[in-house]
Amino acid sequence: MRAEAPLGKRTPSSIPDAPNRYKRYSIWLFGIIVVLLCSWRSGVTPYQLVVGLPQMGDLLAQMFPPDWKYLDKIWKPMMETVQIAIIGTTFGAILAVPVSLLSAYNVIPNRWVAGIFRFILNLVRTIPDLLFASIFVAVLGIGPFAGVLALIFFSFGMIAKLTYEAVEAIDPGPLEAMTAVGANKLQWIRYGVVPQVMGQFISFVLYTFEVNVRAASVLGLVGAGGIGLLLNRSLGQLRYDRSAIIILLTLAIVLLIDYGSSRIRRKLL
Protein backbone atom coordinates (compact mmCIF):
# COMPACT_ATOMS: atom_id res chain seq x y z
CA MET A 1 0.00 0.00 0.00
CA ARG A 2 2.93 2.31 0.57
CA ALA A 3 3.95 4.66 -2.16
CA GLU A 4 7.54 3.67 -2.75
CA ALA A 5 9.44 5.98 -5.03
CA PRO A 6 11.77 3.94 -7.23
CA LEU A 7 14.40 6.65 -7.01
CA GLY A 8 17.44 4.42 -7.09
CA LYS A 9 16.39 2.57 -10.17
CA ARG A 10 15.59 5.59 -12.26
CA THR A 11 17.75 6.00 -15.35
CA PRO A 12 17.63 9.06 -17.59
CA SER A 13 15.70 7.19 -20.25
CA SER A 14 12.95 6.21 -17.80
CA ILE A 15 12.16 9.70 -16.54
CA PRO A 16 8.38 9.87 -16.74
CA ASP A 17 6.57 12.44 -18.85
CA ALA A 18 5.25 15.48 -17.08
CA PRO A 19 1.70 14.82 -15.93
CA ASN A 20 -0.95 16.03 -18.30
CA ARG A 21 -2.14 19.30 -16.88
CA TYR A 22 -5.54 19.32 -18.56
CA LYS A 23 -6.31 15.83 -17.34
CA ARG A 24 -5.55 16.90 -13.79
CA TYR A 25 -7.66 20.04 -14.03
CA SER A 26 -10.59 18.13 -15.47
CA ILE A 27 -10.43 15.57 -12.64
CA TRP A 28 -10.51 18.39 -10.10
CA LEU A 29 -13.37 20.07 -11.93
CA PHE A 30 -15.28 16.79 -12.05
CA GLY A 31 -14.74 16.25 -8.32
CA ILE A 32 -15.94 19.74 -7.44
CA ILE A 33 -19.04 19.36 -9.59
CA VAL A 34 -19.85 16.01 -7.93
CA VAL A 35 -19.50 17.54 -4.45
CA LEU A 36 -21.69 20.51 -5.41
CA LEU A 37 -24.34 18.20 -6.87
CA CYS A 38 -24.31 16.10 -3.71
CA SER A 39 -24.63 19.07 -1.45
CA TRP A 40 -27.51 20.37 -3.59
CA ARG A 41 -29.21 16.95 -3.53
CA SER A 42 -28.96 16.44 0.22
CA GLY A 43 -29.48 20.09 1.09
CA VAL A 44 -26.25 20.28 3.07
CA THR A 45 -24.57 23.66 2.88
CA PRO A 46 -21.58 25.27 4.59
CA TYR A 47 -24.04 27.69 6.15
CA GLN A 48 -25.61 24.82 8.10
CA LEU A 49 -22.17 23.81 9.28
CA VAL A 50 -21.53 27.26 10.74
CA VAL A 51 -24.94 27.36 12.42
CA GLY A 52 -24.93 23.72 13.52
CA LEU A 53 -21.56 23.31 15.16
CA PRO A 54 -22.19 25.70 18.09
CA GLN A 55 -25.32 23.67 18.88
CA MET A 56 -23.10 20.65 19.14
CA GLY A 57 -21.13 22.49 21.80
CA ASP A 58 -24.37 23.18 23.73
CA LEU A 59 -25.23 19.51 23.67
CA LEU A 60 -21.80 18.52 24.98
CA ALA A 61 -22.13 21.13 27.72
CA GLN A 62 -25.44 19.60 28.82
CA MET A 63 -23.81 16.19 29.05
CA PHE A 64 -21.54 17.25 31.86
CA PRO A 65 -21.39 16.29 34.60
CA PRO A 66 -22.53 12.73 33.74
CA ASP A 67 -25.13 11.15 36.01
CA TRP A 68 -22.88 8.66 37.81
CA LYS A 69 -25.71 7.27 39.94
CA TYR A 70 -27.35 5.96 36.78
CA LEU A 71 -24.47 3.52 36.44
CA ASP A 72 -26.27 0.94 38.66
CA LYS A 73 -29.25 0.84 36.32
CA ILE A 74 -27.32 0.54 33.08
CA TRP A 75 -24.98 -2.19 34.23
CA LYS A 76 -27.39 -5.00 33.42
CA PRO A 77 -28.33 -3.83 29.90
CA MET A 78 -24.65 -3.31 29.22
CA MET A 79 -23.96 -6.92 30.16
CA GLU A 80 -26.87 -7.96 27.98
CA THR A 81 -25.14 -6.16 25.11
CA VAL A 82 -22.01 -8.24 25.63
CA GLN A 83 -24.09 -11.41 25.90
CA ILE A 84 -25.85 -10.62 22.62
CA ALA A 85 -22.47 -10.16 20.99
CA ILE A 86 -21.10 -13.44 22.40
CA ILE A 87 -24.05 -15.55 21.29
CA GLY A 88 -24.36 -13.84 17.92
CA THR A 89 -20.69 -14.28 17.16
CA THR A 90 -20.69 -17.94 18.24
CA PHE A 91 -23.60 -19.07 16.10
CA GLY A 92 -22.39 -16.94 13.20
CA ALA A 93 -19.02 -18.69 13.47
CA ILE A 94 -20.61 -22.15 13.62
CA LEU A 95 -22.65 -21.43 10.49
CA ALA A 96 -19.59 -19.99 8.77
CA VAL A 97 -17.51 -23.18 9.08
CA PRO A 98 -19.27 -25.36 6.48
CA VAL A 99 -19.97 -22.43 4.17
CA SER A 100 -16.37 -21.23 4.18
CA LEU A 101 -15.19 -24.75 3.30
CA LEU A 102 -17.77 -24.95 0.53
CA SER A 103 -16.69 -21.58 -0.88
CA ALA A 104 -12.97 -22.39 -1.07
CA TYR A 105 -11.84 -23.45 -4.53
CA ASN A 106 -9.13 -25.74 -3.18
CA VAL A 107 -11.63 -27.73 -1.10
CA ILE A 108 -14.44 -27.82 -3.64
CA PRO A 109 -12.86 -27.94 -7.10
CA ASN A 110 -16.27 -27.46 -8.68
CA ARG A 111 -16.38 -23.74 -9.59
CA TRP A 112 -20.17 -23.66 -9.63
CA VAL A 113 -20.70 -24.78 -6.04
CA ALA A 114 -18.12 -22.40 -4.61
CA GLY A 115 -19.37 -19.63 -6.89
CA ILE A 116 -22.93 -19.95 -5.62
CA PHE A 117 -21.85 -19.89 -1.99
CA ARG A 118 -19.64 -16.87 -2.62
CA PHE A 119 -22.51 -15.08 -4.28
CA ILE A 120 -24.69 -15.70 -1.23
CA LEU A 121 -21.92 -14.47 1.06
CA ASN A 122 -21.52 -11.31 -1.00
CA LEU A 123 -25.24 -10.65 -0.75
CA VAL A 124 -25.26 -11.17 3.01
CA ARG A 125 -22.32 -8.83 3.47
CA THR A 126 -23.95 -5.94 1.63
CA ILE A 127 -26.64 -5.73 4.32
CA PRO A 128 -25.54 -3.72 7.37
CA ASP A 129 -26.13 -5.12 10.87
CA LEU A 130 -28.68 -2.49 11.84
CA LEU A 131 -30.75 -3.34 8.78
CA PHE A 132 -30.79 -7.00 9.78
CA ALA A 133 -31.74 -5.92 13.28
CA SER A 134 -34.67 -3.75 12.21
CA ILE A 135 -36.01 -6.53 10.00
CA PHE A 136 -35.77 -9.09 12.81
CA VAL A 137 -37.41 -6.68 15.24
CA ALA A 138 -40.31 -6.40 12.82
CA VAL A 139 -40.59 -10.20 12.64
CA LEU A 140 -39.87 -11.26 16.22
CA GLY A 141 -40.84 -8.20 18.17
CA ILE A 142 -38.70 -5.96 20.34
CA GLY A 143 -36.06 -7.71 22.42
CA PRO A 144 -32.54 -9.11 22.50
CA PHE A 145 -33.47 -12.16 20.45
CA ALA A 146 -33.80 -10.00 17.32
CA GLY A 147 -30.37 -8.55 18.05
CA VAL A 148 -28.85 -12.00 18.44
CA LEU A 149 -30.27 -13.11 15.09
CA ALA A 150 -29.05 -9.94 13.37
CA LEU A 151 -25.54 -10.47 14.67
CA ILE A 152 -25.62 -14.16 13.68
CA PHE A 153 -26.24 -13.21 10.05
CA PHE A 154 -23.79 -10.33 10.16
CA SER A 155 -20.94 -12.34 11.69
CA PHE A 156 -21.67 -15.30 9.45
CA GLY A 157 -20.99 -13.20 6.36
CA MET A 158 -17.84 -11.70 7.76
CA ILE A 159 -16.26 -14.82 9.27
CA ALA A 160 -17.08 -17.01 6.28
CA LYS A 161 -15.46 -14.53 3.89
CA LEU A 162 -12.28 -14.16 5.92
CA THR A 163 -12.04 -17.91 6.51
CA TYR A 164 -12.48 -19.08 2.94
CA GLU A 165 -9.74 -16.68 1.92
CA ALA A 166 -7.51 -18.19 4.62
CA VAL A 167 -8.42 -21.71 3.50
CA GLU A 168 -7.45 -20.88 -0.06
CA ALA A 169 -4.08 -19.61 1.07
CA ILE A 170 -3.03 -22.79 2.92
CA ASP A 171 -0.02 -24.91 2.01
CA PRO A 172 -1.15 -27.60 -0.50
CA GLY A 173 1.69 -29.96 0.50
CA PRO A 174 -0.04 -31.85 3.35
CA LEU A 175 -3.21 -32.08 1.26
CA GLU A 176 -1.38 -33.69 -1.65
CA ALA A 177 0.33 -36.11 0.72
CA MET A 178 -3.03 -37.12 2.16
CA THR A 179 -4.60 -37.55 -1.25
CA ALA A 180 -1.62 -39.73 -2.19
CA VAL A 181 -2.19 -42.09 0.75
CA GLY A 182 -5.91 -42.30 -0.02
CA ALA A 183 -7.58 -40.14 2.61
CA ASN A 184 -11.28 -39.46 2.12
CA LYS A 185 -12.65 -35.91 1.95
CA LEU A 186 -13.56 -35.69 5.63
CA GLN A 187 -10.16 -36.96 6.79
CA TRP A 188 -8.59 -34.62 4.29
CA ILE A 189 -10.39 -31.65 5.84
CA ARG A 190 -9.89 -32.78 9.43
CA TYR A 191 -6.14 -33.43 9.21
CA GLY A 192 -5.11 -31.33 6.22
CA VAL A 193 -7.18 -28.13 6.28
CA VAL A 194 -8.33 -27.60 9.87
CA PRO A 195 -4.91 -27.59 11.59
CA GLN A 196 -3.64 -25.02 9.11
CA VAL A 197 -6.45 -22.49 9.50
CA MET A 198 -7.52 -23.04 13.11
CA GLY A 199 -5.41 -20.21 14.56
CA GLN A 200 -6.55 -17.74 11.93
CA PHE A 201 -10.16 -18.82 12.31
CA ILE A 202 -10.14 -18.16 16.07
CA SER A 203 -8.52 -14.82 15.42
CA PHE A 204 -11.25 -13.90 12.89
CA VAL A 205 -13.92 -14.92 15.39
CA LEU A 206 -12.39 -12.71 18.07
CA TYR A 207 -12.10 -9.82 15.66
CA THR A 208 -15.74 -10.24 14.67
CA PHE A 209 -16.62 -10.32 18.35
CA GLU A 210 -14.97 -6.93 18.79
CA VAL A 211 -16.99 -5.55 15.88
CA ASN A 212 -20.15 -7.14 17.27
CA VAL A 213 -19.80 -5.57 20.70
CA ARG A 214 -19.80 -2.17 19.01
CA ALA A 215 -22.73 -3.20 16.84
CA ALA A 216 -24.67 -4.63 19.80
CA SER A 217 -24.30 -1.37 21.69
CA VAL A 218 -26.38 0.41 19.04
CA LEU A 219 -28.81 -2.39 18.16
CA GLY A 220 -31.17 -1.16 20.86
CA LEU A 221 -31.80 2.01 18.85
CA VAL A 222 -34.02 -0.04 16.56
CA GLY A 223 -35.37 -2.12 19.46
CA ALA A 224 -33.09 -5.13 19.32
CA GLY A 225 -32.00 -5.24 22.94
CA GLY A 226 -28.95 -4.11 24.83
CA ILE A 227 -27.79 -0.73 26.03
CA GLY A 228 -28.95 1.15 22.92
CA LEU A 229 -32.54 1.06 24.16
CA LEU A 230 -31.62 3.07 27.25
CA LEU A 231 -29.52 5.44 25.20
CA ASN A 232 -32.48 6.10 22.98
CA ARG A 233 -34.73 6.65 26.00
CA SER A 234 -32.35 9.01 27.75
CA LEU A 235 -31.98 11.05 24.55
CA GLY A 236 -35.74 11.17 24.14
CA GLN A 237 -36.17 12.39 27.74
CA LEU A 238 -33.47 15.02 27.15
CA ARG A 239 -31.47 13.52 30.03
CA TYR A 240 -28.16 14.12 28.35
CA ASP A 241 -26.26 13.55 31.58
CA ARG A 242 -27.58 9.98 31.45
CA SER A 243 -26.71 9.63 27.76
CA ALA A 244 -23.21 10.72 28.65
CA ILE A 245 -22.74 8.01 31.25
CA ILE A 246 -24.17 5.38 28.90
CA ILE A 247 -21.76 6.42 26.16
CA LEU A 248 -18.83 6.49 28.58
CA LEU A 249 -19.60 2.99 29.89
CA THR A 250 -20.01 1.67 26.34
CA LEU A 251 -16.66 3.12 25.35
CA ALA A 252 -15.00 1.62 28.41
CA ILE A 253 -16.41 -1.86 27.72
CA VAL A 254 -15.54 -1.67 24.03
CA LEU A 255 -11.98 -0.60 24.80
CA LEU A 256 -11.58 -3.34 27.41
CA ILE A 257 -12.82 -6.05 25.04
CA ASP A 258 -10.73 -4.71 22.16
CA TYR A 259 -7.66 -4.78 24.36
CA GLY A 260 -8.23 -8.32 25.66
CA SER A 261 -9.18 -9.75 22.30
CA SER A 262 -6.31 -8.15 20.42
CA ARG A 263 -3.87 -9.56 23.00
CA ILE A 264 -5.24 -13.06 22.47
CA ARG A 265 -5.15 -12.56 18.71
CA ARG A 266 -1.53 -11.50 18.78
CA LYS A 267 -0.71 -14.69 20.66
CA LEU A 268 -2.55 -16.84 18.12
CA LEU A 269 -0.90 -15.54 14.97
Binding site: A3, G43, Q55, Q83, P128, L131, L221, L235, Y240, L251
Partner: protein, 265 residues
Protein backbone atom coordinates in the same frame (compact mmCIF):
# COMPACT_ATOMS: atom_id res chain seq x y z
CA UNK B 1 -0.67 -22.82 18.27
CA UNK B 2 -0.64 -25.81 16.00
CA UNK B 3 2.35 -27.36 17.70
CA UNK B 4 2.82 -30.90 16.55
CA UNK B 5 4.56 -32.25 19.62
CA UNK B 6 3.67 -35.88 20.03
CA UNK B 7 3.93 -35.98 23.82
CA UNK B 8 1.78 -33.39 25.45
CA UNK B 9 3.20 -31.92 28.61
CA UNK B 10 0.88 -31.95 31.64
CA UNK B 11 1.05 -28.16 31.61
CA UNK B 12 -0.54 -27.87 28.21
CA UNK B 13 -3.29 -30.19 29.39
CA UNK B 14 -3.95 -28.06 32.45
CA UNK B 15 -3.92 -24.93 30.31
CA UNK B 16 -6.34 -26.52 27.86
CA UNK B 17 -8.79 -27.51 30.59
CA UNK B 18 -8.56 -24.05 32.15
CA UNK B 19 -9.40 -22.43 28.82
CA UNK B 20 -12.26 -24.88 28.32
CA UNK B 21 -13.60 -24.12 31.80
CA UNK B 22 -13.41 -20.38 31.16
CA UNK B 23 -15.26 -20.80 27.87
CA UNK B 24 -17.98 -22.90 29.51
CA UNK B 25 -18.43 -20.27 32.21
CA UNK B 26 -18.60 -17.46 29.64
CA UNK B 27 -21.22 -19.28 27.59
CA UNK B 28 -23.23 -20.25 30.64
CA UNK B 29 -23.25 -16.58 31.64
CA UNK B 30 -24.12 -15.40 28.14
CA UNK B 31 -27.03 -17.78 27.67
CA UNK B 32 -28.41 -17.13 31.15
CA UNK B 33 -28.68 -13.44 30.32
CA UNK B 34 -30.71 -13.65 27.13
CA UNK B 35 -34.29 -14.71 27.53
CA UNK B 36 -35.33 -16.56 24.43
CA UNK B 37 -39.02 -15.82 24.57
CA UNK B 38 -39.34 -17.88 21.47
CA UNK B 39 -40.95 -16.67 18.35
CA UNK B 40 -43.88 -14.38 18.48
CA UNK B 41 -47.12 -16.27 18.07
CA UNK B 42 -47.65 -14.69 14.71
CA UNK B 43 -44.08 -15.18 13.52
CA UNK B 44 -45.26 -17.79 11.07
CA UNK B 45 -47.77 -15.56 9.35
CA UNK B 46 -45.33 -12.67 9.43
CA UNK B 47 -42.65 -14.82 7.82
CA UNK B 48 -45.09 -15.86 5.12
CA UNK B 49 -45.94 -12.20 4.53
CA UNK B 50 -42.26 -11.31 4.33
CA UNK B 51 -41.54 -14.10 1.89
CA UNK B 52 -44.45 -12.98 -0.22
CA UNK B 53 -43.18 -9.41 -0.12
CA UNK B 54 -39.69 -10.43 -1.14
CA UNK B 55 -41.02 -12.44 -4.05
CA UNK B 56 -43.25 -9.59 -5.18
CA UNK B 57 -41.31 -6.38 -4.56
CA UNK B 58 -43.08 -3.08 -5.04
CA UNK B 59 -41.66 -2.25 -8.48
CA UNK B 60 -43.71 0.93 -8.75
CA UNK B 61 -41.76 2.41 -5.84
CA UNK B 62 -38.56 2.58 -7.90
CA UNK B 63 -39.67 5.78 -9.53
CA UNK B 64 -42.56 7.95 -8.44
CA UNK B 65 -43.05 11.18 -10.36
CA UNK B 66 -43.87 13.09 -7.18
CA UNK B 67 -42.03 12.83 -3.91
CA UNK B 68 -39.93 10.20 -2.26
CA UNK B 69 -39.05 7.07 -4.18
CA UNK B 70 -36.29 4.49 -4.23
CA UNK B 71 -34.04 6.22 -6.74
CA UNK B 72 -34.15 9.53 -4.88
CA UNK B 73 -33.54 7.78 -1.57
CA UNK B 74 -30.52 5.96 -2.97
CA UNK B 75 -29.26 9.20 -4.50
CA UNK B 76 -29.57 10.87 -1.09
CA UNK B 77 -27.63 8.03 0.50
CA UNK B 78 -24.96 8.31 -2.17
CA UNK B 79 -24.72 12.08 -1.69
CA UNK B 80 -24.47 11.74 2.08
CA UNK B 81 -21.65 9.24 1.84
CA UNK B 82 -19.76 11.23 -0.81
CA UNK B 83 -20.00 14.44 1.22
CA UNK B 84 -19.09 12.61 4.43
CA UNK B 85 -16.05 11.05 2.79
CA UNK B 86 -14.91 14.37 1.29
CA UNK B 87 -15.26 16.15 4.63
CA UNK B 88 -13.33 13.47 6.49
CA UNK B 89 -10.68 13.26 3.77
CA UNK B 90 -10.03 16.98 4.18
CA UNK B 91 -10.27 17.05 7.97
CA UNK B 92 -8.08 13.98 8.43
CA UNK B 93 -5.00 15.60 6.84
CA UNK B 94 -3.97 17.73 9.83
CA UNK B 95 -4.79 14.85 12.19
CA UNK B 96 -2.66 12.49 10.14
CA UNK B 97 0.36 14.78 10.20
CA UNK B 98 -0.18 15.37 13.90
CA UNK B 99 -0.19 11.63 14.63
CA UNK B 100 2.75 10.54 12.51
CA UNK B 101 5.92 10.07 14.49
CA UNK B 102 8.31 11.22 11.77
CA UNK B 103 6.68 14.60 11.18
CA UNK B 104 7.57 16.03 14.57
CA UNK B 105 10.78 15.98 16.54
CA UNK B 106 9.45 14.38 19.72
CA UNK B 107 6.91 11.70 20.48
CA UNK B 108 5.27 14.12 22.90
CA UNK B 109 3.44 15.57 19.92
CA UNK B 110 2.57 12.44 17.94
CA UNK B 111 1.44 10.15 20.77
CA UNK B 112 -1.47 12.38 21.90
CA UNK B 113 -2.49 12.57 18.23
CA UNK B 114 -2.69 8.80 18.06
CA UNK B 115 -4.73 8.71 21.27
CA UNK B 116 -7.20 11.28 19.94
CA UNK B 117 -7.63 9.23 16.78
CA UNK B 118 -8.34 6.04 18.67
CA UNK B 119 -10.91 7.85 20.82
CA UNK B 120 -12.66 8.99 17.64
CA UNK B 121 -12.55 5.42 16.33
CA UNK B 122 -14.21 3.81 19.35
CA UNK B 123 -17.39 5.86 19.00
CA UNK B 124 -19.84 3.84 16.90
CA UNK B 125 -20.96 6.10 14.10
CA UNK B 126 -24.63 5.62 14.87
CA UNK B 127 -23.97 7.18 18.29
CA UNK B 128 -22.16 10.05 16.58
CA UNK B 129 -25.16 10.34 14.29
CA UNK B 130 -27.74 10.57 17.08
CA UNK B 131 -25.63 13.14 18.87
CA UNK B 132 -25.58 15.23 15.70
CA UNK B 133 -29.30 14.71 15.23
CA UNK B 134 -29.82 16.07 18.73
CA UNK B 135 -27.59 19.03 17.95
CA UNK B 136 -28.63 20.02 14.42
CA UNK B 137 -31.95 18.24 13.99
CA UNK B 138 -32.80 15.15 11.94
CA UNK B 139 -31.89 15.02 8.28
CA UNK B 140 -29.10 14.49 5.83
CA UNK B 141 -26.92 17.12 7.47
CA UNK B 142 -26.60 15.10 10.68
CA UNK B 143 -25.68 12.04 8.61
CA UNK B 144 -23.01 13.89 6.66
CA UNK B 145 -21.47 15.24 9.85
CA UNK B 146 -21.57 11.83 11.53
CA UNK B 147 -19.77 10.14 8.64
CA UNK B 148 -17.38 13.05 8.25
CA UNK B 149 -16.32 13.08 11.90
CA UNK B 150 -16.33 9.33 12.49
CA UNK B 151 -14.29 8.54 9.37
CA UNK B 152 -11.47 10.83 10.52
CA UNK B 153 -10.49 8.23 13.10
CA UNK B 154 -9.75 5.47 10.63
CA UNK B 155 -8.61 7.59 7.68
CA UNK B 156 -6.13 9.64 9.67
CA UNK B 157 -4.72 6.48 11.28
CA UNK B 158 -4.12 4.73 7.94
CA UNK B 159 -2.86 7.94 6.47
CA UNK B 160 -0.41 8.65 9.30
CA UNK B 161 0.96 5.12 8.90
CA UNK B 162 1.59 5.94 5.24
CA UNK B 163 3.39 9.12 6.21
CA UNK B 164 5.51 7.17 8.66
CA UNK B 165 6.48 4.75 5.90
CA UNK B 166 7.69 7.28 3.33
CA UNK B 167 11.13 7.22 1.81
CA UNK B 168 13.34 9.83 3.53
CA UNK B 169 15.68 10.09 0.53
CA UNK B 170 13.95 12.95 -1.33
CA UNK B 171 13.54 14.86 1.92
CA UNK B 172 17.26 14.60 2.73
CA UNK B 173 18.15 15.62 -0.81
CA UNK B 174 15.96 18.70 -0.48
CA UNK B 175 17.40 19.62 2.90
CA UNK B 176 20.84 19.36 1.33
CA UNK B 177 19.75 21.79 -1.38
CA UNK B 178 18.48 24.19 1.28
CA UNK B 179 14.71 23.79 0.92
CA UNK B 180 12.50 25.11 3.68
CA UNK B 181 9.95 22.95 5.53
CA UNK B 182 7.02 23.91 3.34
CA UNK B 183 8.92 23.12 0.18
CA UNK B 184 9.96 19.76 1.63
CA UNK B 185 6.35 19.00 2.44
CA UNK B 186 5.19 20.02 -1.01
CA UNK B 187 7.82 18.31 -3.15
CA UNK B 188 9.20 15.45 -1.03
CA UNK B 189 6.35 14.29 1.23
CA UNK B 190 3.07 14.94 -0.56
CA UNK B 191 3.91 13.29 -3.90
CA UNK B 192 4.72 10.09 -2.02
CA UNK B 193 1.49 9.93 -0.06
CA UNK B 194 -1.14 11.09 -2.53
CA UNK B 195 -1.86 7.68 -4.14
CA UNK B 196 -2.28 5.95 -0.78
CA UNK B 197 -4.38 8.86 0.46
CA UNK B 198 -6.75 8.60 -2.49
CA UNK B 199 -6.95 4.83 -2.22
CA UNK B 200 -7.80 4.92 1.52
CA UNK B 201 -10.40 7.63 0.95
CA UNK B 202 -12.09 5.54 -1.72
CA UNK B 203 -11.97 2.50 0.55
CA UNK B 204 -13.55 4.55 3.31
CA UNK B 205 -16.23 5.61 0.85
CA UNK B 206 -17.16 1.93 0.46
CA UNK B 207 -17.60 1.66 4.23
CA UNK B 208 -19.48 4.95 4.39
CA UNK B 209 -22.04 3.94 1.83
CA UNK B 210 -22.90 0.91 3.96
CA UNK B 211 -23.25 3.09 7.04
CA UNK B 212 -25.22 5.71 5.15
CA UNK B 213 -27.90 3.14 4.38
CA UNK B 214 -28.49 2.64 8.11
CA UNK B 215 -28.17 6.25 9.22
CA UNK B 216 -31.75 6.86 8.18
CA UNK B 217 -32.94 4.25 10.68
CA UNK B 218 -32.15 6.69 13.47
CA UNK B 219 -33.26 9.74 11.46
CA UNK B 220 -30.11 10.96 9.75
CA UNK B 221 -31.34 11.01 6.18
CA UNK B 222 -31.00 8.76 3.17
CA UNK B 223 -32.73 5.53 2.17
CA UNK B 224 -32.97 4.31 5.78
CA UNK B 225 -35.84 6.71 6.49
CA UNK B 226 -38.34 5.27 3.97
CA UNK B 227 -37.09 1.83 4.98
CA UNK B 228 -37.99 2.30 8.63
CA UNK B 229 -41.42 3.65 7.60
CA UNK B 230 -41.99 0.62 5.41
CA UNK B 231 -40.88 -1.69 8.24
CA UNK B 232 -43.14 0.02 10.76
CA UNK B 233 -46.14 -0.23 8.47
CA UNK B 234 -45.17 -3.84 7.59
CA UNK B 235 -45.21 -3.01 3.92
CA UNK B 236 -42.99 -5.95 3.03
CA UNK B 237 -43.01 -5.53 -0.72
CA UNK B 238 -41.68 -2.04 -0.23
CA UNK B 239 -39.08 -3.25 2.30
CA UNK B 240 -38.03 -5.81 -0.29
CA UNK B 241 -37.53 -3.32 -3.11
CA UNK B 242 -35.57 -0.98 -0.83
CA UNK B 243 -33.37 -3.85 0.32
CA UNK B 244 -32.74 -4.90 -3.28
CA UNK B 245 -31.91 -1.30 -4.11
CA UNK B 246 -29.40 -1.13 -1.25
CA UNK B 247 -27.79 -4.40 -2.31
CA UNK B 248 -27.40 -3.16 -5.89
CA UNK B 249 -26.06 0.23 -4.79
CA UNK B 250 -23.51 -1.29 -2.41
CA UNK B 251 -22.39 -3.90 -4.94
CA UNK B 252 -22.00 -1.30 -7.68
CA UNK B 253 -20.00 1.10 -5.53
CA UNK B 254 -17.79 -1.80 -4.38
CA UNK B 255 -17.06 -2.71 -7.97
CA UNK B 256 -16.39 0.86 -9.10
CA UNK B 257 -14.24 1.77 -6.14
CA UNK B 258 -12.30 -1.48 -6.36
CA UNK B 259 -11.55 -0.68 -9.99
CA UNK B 260 -10.55 2.90 -9.11
CA UNK B 261 -8.27 1.77 -6.30
CA UNK B 262 -6.52 -0.70 -8.56
CA UNK B 263 -5.93 2.08 -11.07
CA UNK B 264 -4.49 4.44 -8.50
CA UNK B 265 -1.99 2.10 -6.85
Amino acid sequence: MNTTTLKKSPWSRIRFSLIALALILIYWWAFSGIRFEGFQEMAKTVSAAILNGFLHPDWSYIYLPDGEDLLRGLLDTLSISILGTVISAVLCIPFAFWASANMSRTRVISVPGKIVLSIIRVFPEIIVAILFIKAVGPGAFAGVLALGIHSIGMLAKLFSETIEGIDRGPEEAMIACGANRLQILRYAVIPQIVPAFLSYSIYRFEINIRSATTLGLVGAGGIGTPLIFALDSRNWSRVAIILYGIIILVTLTDLISGWLRKKII
